[in-house]
């Protein structure tokens, strides 16, 4: 199943699906890293609200995705980790493996952070 990706100004928003398979996640990784360059995006938002589990594979793939996207010049924010998924991740120590990747409660906050980072970046230039 293809993951829907929306383009919102300088950002890309990917909504991960409940029935996301490992192959879908790897495909999303490739598409996003490519699209960040094509659209000259400054930020990527990964919405995981619908995701049913965040296991070791999903955690590693999301981290790899965020790191590759950073190398391409954009920031990644993970949005919408549900309470029960957060507990499971902490119990497994997966939260540590995701450290370095920003997470926010909702889309609004993620967009605000990305906007702020862009403005700070422009001021420095």
């Amino acid at each position: 199943m293809k993951t829907p990706i929306l383009k919102q100004g300088p950002y890309l928003i990917a909504s991960l699906q409940a029935e996301q398979s490992d192959t879908d996640l790897l495909e999303l990784q490739e598409v996003l890293v490519e699209q960040v360059g094509r659209f000259r995006s400054r930020g990527v938002i990964l919405d995981v609200t619908l995701l049913d589990v965040m296991d070791s594979f999903a955690t590693r793939t999301l981290r790899n995705m965020a790191q590759a996207i950073r190398l391409r010049g954009a920031e990644t924010i993970i949005v919408g980790i549900r309470p029960e998924i957060a507990f499971a991740m902490v119990q497994l120590g997966l939260d540590v493996r995701l450290s370095g990747v920003q997470t926010t409660l909702d889309l609004e906050e993620a967009l605000a952070i990305l906007d702020r980072q862009r403005q700070e970046g422009m001021c420095r230039d």
Partner: protein
């Protein structure tokens, strides 16, 4: 109530399917939302191990009743290469595959009971139980 579901695991879409089946069965038993997620996560790790190391195998989900206790048993079986050193395989971060080496220890931590038997060249069998608290 001894519902048993047997699912062949051959590809990563089967991993998603088995998670959904387990959620439905566990929900019937009265597990909380957070327990449903723990069960689905454990199952995801076990099913992925089958696909990654043995290419194919099966998962058997069954509801059990023991007096007042109700629980869900996950059976995972494959005829793959087996695990030479189970003790090491149960350590965080040890992997002979491409993963993080968290699959088995993760699954064990998320369930109440966990038994594993493995024979090199013959395959691996895992039985993991979660009780409704």
């Amino acid at each position: 109530m001894t519902d048993v579901v047997q699912i062949a695991i051959r590809s990563d879409s089967d991993i998603v399917m088995v998670r959904q089946q387990a959620r439905a069965l566990a929900k019937e038993l009265g597990f909380s939302a957070s327990d449903l997620t723990l069960i689905a996560t454990a199952l995801s790790e076990l099913a992925r191990n089958i696909v990654e190391y043995a290419q194919q195998g099966e998962i058997i989900l069954s509801q059990i009743k023991q007096g007042e206790l109700r629980g869900l048993v996950i059976g995972a079986r494959d005829s793959g290469p087996g695990i030479a050193d189970i003790e090491r395989a149960m350590l965080d971060g040890y992997s002979t595959g491409k993963g993080l080496g968290l699959g088995l220890p993760c699954a064990k931590r998320l369930m109440d009971e966990f038994e594993i038997t493995s024979c090199v060249g013959q395959g691996t069998t895992i039985k993991a139980t979660k009780w409704v608290h």
